[in-house]
Symmetry: C2
Subunit: 129 residues, 2 copies
């Protein structure tokens, strides 16, 4: 179980990540909020930690877990090749944009994209349902 995708395929792990998205949490806090047996939480946290999704620091007997951003990017990068298919590109873009804007520093000049070879639009040659 190594790929980013396998890691986030597990629902409990996504739940944990979701929790950590709001703020860092100890194992016990996760355990209680998600009503999950402690060993289950610890095991999933181990997977997440080894996969680079979270990191932990020690606080007495407790371990405080928080998110690390990098791996999420990989998912986003993978999605990139499919964004062209979303019907309401612009809407999606705007949502994305606005969301980011909430935290943006004054934006540097917009670097214009180097035109990528565009895969030809489907020919639909044989289409006869």
């Amino acid at each position: 179980m190594d790929s980013v995708f396998e890691i986030i395929a597990e629902p409990n792990r996504r739940a944990i990540l979701g929790l950590l998205a709001s703020s860092e949490q100890s194992v016990g806090e996760i355990e209680r909020q998600l009503r999950m047996p402690q060993p289950t939480v610890s095991k999933h946290l181990r997977v997440l930690r080894e996969a680079g999704f979270v990191e932990s620091t020690v606080d007495a007997q407790r371990r405080l877990y928080r998110l690390r951003p990098e791996r999420f990017r990989e998912v986003d990068d993978w999605l990139t090749q499919f964004r062209r298919f979303w019907s309401a590109h612009v809407d999606a873009l705007e949502r994305h944009l606005d969301r980011m804007d909430r935290m943006s520093q004054p934006k540097p000049a917009k670097t214009k994209a180097k035109k990528t070879t565009r895969p030809q639009p489907r020919t639909d040659k044989g289409e006869k349902k």
Copy 2:
């Protein structure tokens, strides 16, 4: 195996989706390009089809498969809650933007985002590594 994430967790399925991202393909074409036994391809296509990632139309004995965008969005939507953690927001945004721009119709006026309640930044209270 129902969730979007479980579907894309399988490497061969991601490979198939990747292929279809460039253009629609028949089962045989996928089989050859990915050097994958035909039953394997068909089975994965079935999973992808039933999950709504692809759709097919009949062309004589062949089946032509192509992407459907909707499910990919779900992944993107899930990612949303984590975007705030990406360090170089703006860069990511710009890349996203430029990529989309390649196909955008003249853009409608930018709708400004309704400010969402922002989860308080991590307090780092117990931090003592």
